[in-house]
Symmetry: C2
Subunit: 199 residues, 2 copies
Amino acid sequence: MNESTADRLVTAAAKLLEDGVDAVTLRAVAKLVGLSHNAPYKHFKDRSALLAAVAERDFLLLKNAFDHARRTSRSPLAALKTGIAAFIAYGREHPARYRLMFSDPELVSQGGAMEARAMEAFQAFGALVADCQATGSFPATDTKALTALIYSSLHGLIDLELGGRARESKGLGSIEAMSALLLELLSQNRILSGTRSLD
Amino acid sequence: MNESTADRLVTAAAKLLEDGVDAVTLRAVAKLVGLSHNAPYKHFKDRSALLAAVAERDFLLLKNAFDHARRTSRSPLAALKTGIAAFIAYGREHPARYRLMFSDPELVSQGGAMEARAMEAFQAFGALVADCQATGSFPATDTKALTALIYSSLHGLIDLELGGRARESKGLGSIEAMSALLLELLSQNRILSGTRSLD
DNA sequence: ACCTGAACACCGTTCAAGT
DNA sequence: ACCTGAACACCGTTCAAGT
């Protein structure tokens, strides 16, 4: 079973993305696959649709990394930490692809398959969090809310580092230290189980 | 004292940014100011430099919002909450300008004046956090680290909402609820003052 | 169904020239 | 010092045509 032309276009686009999103021109993608400069239009509606397909594939990779961490770790907390490490590593190794998935204005609310994969990745991460709650490592707050807080915070740390806004001078030297701090905060807190109002 | 041509170009670019970063073509900017399509080059090195100037101005606005919150609120915690609310409101009202400041790959590590303003905004936010620590509302951890954690988490929440990745279905419905949850976690935790190792 | 080549409108950037 | 107009290379997208 050979790779379809569409798949090869996505692979080529992902490869070019390593040089930044601007490097992904339809002409360059087509050339890399060995087709004429407008052949991509027979497989994708436009440039955005091709980029969405790359993000879709990457969300699946992320989901798989989370699932793998869950299956192979010896404790829920260890699994979560492995998942977080994979998330961070992904952002560092593929910054443009990471930004495409999470921060690209073109791909906003495109719905479709990419959105579905994005949600599956989020849910796989949520399973890691739920496991930590089940063993009492984390407070028994609403799982979705807790997952969302950790997931967003992690994204913020990664995104600021990618943008160069996280330098030692700002105290943002290590994402790892920051996320560990966050987990520590969560592990030691027991009050969230009850009602949730402060003000 | 009239606005300089450079200032008018920045203002025009900021205005066009409301329609997305792609709407900011040098030709459109020049036209809005009433100049020929390449007049901007006499004031800015290239398109990136003009966008950086917009971000620079916006970081100053953000810093001023933080400073204002600090001066006008009746308690450190109230000041921090006001600052956070301003941060969130800014992201929602000017998504493209927000993304330009924090997540634009073109403006990475450009150094220069924008980087300086970005740090001033971060430091102004840090003053709000430090005040909360001084009154015992927050643990006496390293202020920069604590500031960075809150700042990044907040950014992550805002960025994911702007990207449409924060829907009710994911439990990310309200940035306000999430940031309140984070502050609650911080307020109730006292252990961070001591040594910081978990694993 | 899938691909090609020509063409269009648009853009960032450079350059020679004007005042 | 600041601005203009022409020009270049490049890009997304469309269309008519081929197999």
